[in-house]
C-alpha cells in the first residue's frame, strides 16, 4: 500500500539542449528556474529552498540573488556526479516534509559541452596537494583511467562475460531511444535516425563502449519546483507526487567507480537505492508504467533494469530484444530519447520527461501512465525517485 507523499512536483522548466548555448551557466540556471516557476504559477518570492548537485557551478547565493529571494531556509547538494540528480528531489522532499522549507527549486544548469567536457581526460593527481580525491584518482589516472567511459567500461565488459551480452544488445537500446528522440522536437538528435548497423559501425571509445553507447555532451539548464501536497493541489499544473526518493552506494565503491567490488556485473548501488524506493512507495517494478534510467552509457540501462527488478540478472538484453523498452512493451524506457539522444543535463532532463509522462503531455506518451521511476547514474553513488500521477 502506498504511503502518503511528502511533496509534489508542481513545475518543470528547461532551456534548449545544445552544443554551445552562447549564454552563461548562471543564465541557463535562471532561465530554467523562472520557466519552472511560471509553469507552476508560482512567484520567485514563494521559494525558500534551493537544491542542486555538487558538480553544479551555480552557487546558491548567485541563484537566490538573481531570483530576488529575500530569505532561504534550506539549501543542500547531492554528491556522486550524475548519480545525484533524483537525489535533489529526495532532499527537497525531506525538507518540505519536515517543515524546513515550503517550496524548493531543484536545478542543474551547465555548459558541459562548450565550457568543460566531462568526457575529456581528468587527472587531478596532485596539482592541488594530496587531497583524498587526488590520492583516490592516483589509482586510476596513472593507468590511463581518466574518463567516465574508462572508469565504467570494465563493469560492462564483465557483464558481457558473465551473461553473454553483446555490443549489439547495448546498441538495441540506443536504437530504441533514438526512435523516441526522432519524435521529440526537443531532442538534439531529433532529425537523425540511428540503425543497429550505424551503432556497430561507430568508433570505439572505451571498449566495449562505442560512440553511440555514450551519452551526449550538452549545454542546457533544467529546474523543477516542489512544494507540500496541500499547496500543490491549488496550483496551475496537476501535481506529480513524490512517492519514494532514495540514495544508494554499493559495496566497495571507490571514488568514481566500484572497480574493487567482488562482482562488477551488477549495479549494486541501484539495488541499494531501488529496494528503498519500493519499500517507501509500497510499489514494485510491476507497478511502473515508464522508466527513466540514467543512460551515461547504454549498457547501464540494461544493468539498471535488472537491479530494479524489471527482469532477472542477465535478462535485460532479452527484454530489449523483445521490444519491451518500447511503447507498448513491459517498461517503456527513456521515452524522451534519454541522454543518448535527447540531451545530457546530468539526468535532470529525464526528471522532466517523467513529469510530462505523468501529466499526460509527453510526445511518446505511455497511455494512462500513473507511475514512473527515475534513476541517477549507476556505478556511481546514485539516487532515484518513484513519482505518481495525482489527477
Amino acid at each position: 500500500m502506498s504511503h502518503s507523499p511528502s511533496a509534489a512536483i508542481v513545475g518543470a522548466g528547461s532551456t534548449e539542449f545544445s552544443k554551445a548555448s552562447g549564454r552563461s551557466e548562471l543564465r541557463l540556471a535562471l532561465e530554467a528556474c523562472t520557466f519552472a516557476l511560471a509553469d507552476a504559477g508560482l512567484d520567485p518570492s514563494d521559494v525558500d529552498g534551493l537544491v542542486t548537485m555538487t558538480m553544479d557551478g551555480n552557487d546558491e547565493p548567485a541563484v537566490a540573488h538573481y531570483l530576488g529571494l529575500d530569505a532561504l531556509t534550506f539549501f543542500a547538494r547531492t554528491s556522486g556526479g550524475g548519480g545525484g540528480g533524483p537525489g535533489t528531489l529526495a532532499l527537497a522532499s525531506m525538507a518540505i516534509a519536515t517543515g524546513r522549507a515550503r517550496t524548493v527549486l531543484c536545478y542543474r544548469a551547465m555548459n558541459e559541452r562548450s565550457q568543460g567536457r566531462f568526457g575529456q581526460p581528468s587527472h587531478y593527481t596532485g596539482d592541488r596537494g594530496a587531497t583524498t580525491a587526488a590520492v583516490t584518482m592516483s589509482w586510476a589516472a596513472p593507468f590511463g583511467m581518466v574518463t567516465p567511459a574508462a572508469f565504467f567500461a570494465p563493469s560492462f565488459r564483465r557483464y558481457m562475460h558473465e551473461y553473454g551480452a553483446t555490443s549489439e544488445d547495448f546498441g538495441r537500446q540506443a536504437v530504441v531511444q533514438r526512435a523516441y528522440a526522432n519524435k521529440n522536437p526537443q531532442a538534439f538528435f531529433h532529425d537523425r535516425p540511428l540503425t543497429l548497423d550505424d551503432h556497430q559501425a561507430s568508433r570505439m571509445i572505451a571498449d566495449p563502449l562505442r560512440l553511440f553507447d555514450c551519452c551526449q555532451e550538452s549545454d542546457g539548464g533544467v529546474a523543477l519546483v516542489l512544494t507540500a501536497p496541500d499547496r500543490a493541489k491549488d496550483l496551475r499544473q496537476p501535481p506529480v507526487a513524490v512517492l519514494g526518493a532514495a540514495m544508494g552506494i554499493g559495496p566497495r565503491q571507490y571514488g568514481v567507480a566500484p572497480l574493487y567490488r567482488d562482482d562488477l556485473a551488477v549495479a549494486a548501488e541501484t539495488e541499494v537505492m531501488g529496494d528503498q524506493l519500493w519499500a517507501q512507495s509500497g510499489l514494485g517494478p510491476g507497478d511502473m508504467d515508464v522508466a527513466i534510467l540514467y543512460d551515461h552509457f547504454s549498457p547501464a540501462v540494461l544493468m539498471q533494469l535488472e537491479a530494479l527488478g524489471f527482469c532477472g540478472r542477465g535478462e535485460a538484453p532479452g527484454l530489449v530484444r523483445d521490444g519491451d523498452t518500447e511503447l507498448g512493451g513491459v517498461i517503456p524506457t527513456n521515452t524522451n530519447g534519454g541522454q543518448l539522444s535527447e540531451g545530457y543535463i546530468h539526468g535532470f532532463n529525464g526528471l522532466v520527461e517523467a513529469v510530462r509522462q505523468l501529466r499526460g503531455t509527453a510526445v511518446n506518451q505511455v497511455a494512462g501512465a500513473a507511475h514512473a521511476v527515475v534513476t541517477g547514474g549507476s556505478h556511481a553513488p546514485t539516487s532515484g525517485v518513484v513519482l505518481g500521477r495525482t489527477a
Binding site: P121, T125, W139, F143, G144, M145, M204
Partner: protein, 140 residues
C-alpha cells in the same frame, strides 16, 4: 603496444607512499592489517574488515588473473602514445588492482587469463604493469 611517458604522476600521502616507493625498487606491495592480517588495496588508513588503523607493508607475488579490462581509444589517455589497455587484475593473494596490460594484442585478451607484474620507469617514479607470463622474454 603503446609506449608510455609523461603519465599523470600519482599524488601520495602517508597511507599510500609505500606502494610507489616499493615500485621504484621493483617490488609490488600492498597493505596488511596488523590486527586481522587481511590484505587490502588500494591503500588507505583503516582496515575495512576490522577497522584497525595499524598496518604493515606486505610484498605480494605479482601473479594474478585478468578480472576485466577496457581499451581506452578516445580521447587519448595522457602519457600513452596509443590506446591504453586498462586491466582490473585479481592478484593471487586475493586483492584487486587496476593497472595496464603491456605486450599483448588487446584483441586477444581473455578474462581469467594469468598475468604477472612488471615495472615501467617514468621520470622519477615507477608504475607497476602486468604482462602475460609467456611474454617475459620480450620485456625486461
Amino acid at each position: 603496444m603503446a609506449s608510455t611517458s609523461g603519465r599523470p604522476r600519482p599524488a601520495t600521502n602517508p597511507d599510500t607512499r609505500f606502494f610507489w616507493d616499493a615500485a621504484v625498487e621493483g617490488r609490488l606491495a600492498v597493505q596488511r592489517c596488523s590486527a586481522c592480517r587481511a590484505l587490502r588495496h588500494p591503500p588507505g588508513p583503516a582496515c575495512p574488515e576490522c577497522h584497525s588503523l595499524d598496518w604493515e607493508v606486505s610484498d605480494v607475488s605479482g601473479r594474478g588473473t585478468l578480472y576485466s579490462y577496457t581499451v581506452l581509444h578516445h580521447p587519448p589517455a595522457p602519457g600513452f602514445d596509443g590506446p591504453a589497455v586498462i586491466a582490473v587484475v585479481d592478484l593471487d593473494e586475493g586483492v584487486r588492482m587496476v593497472s595496464n596490460v603491456v605486450g599483448a594484442d588487446p584483441a586477444t585478451l581473455t578474462i581469467g587469463e594469468p598475468l604477472e607484474v612488471c615495472f615501467e620507469e617514468q621520470v622519477g617514479w615507477t608504475v607497476p604493469q602486468f604482462r602475460r607470463p609467456a611474454a617475459r622474454e620480450g620485456l625486461r
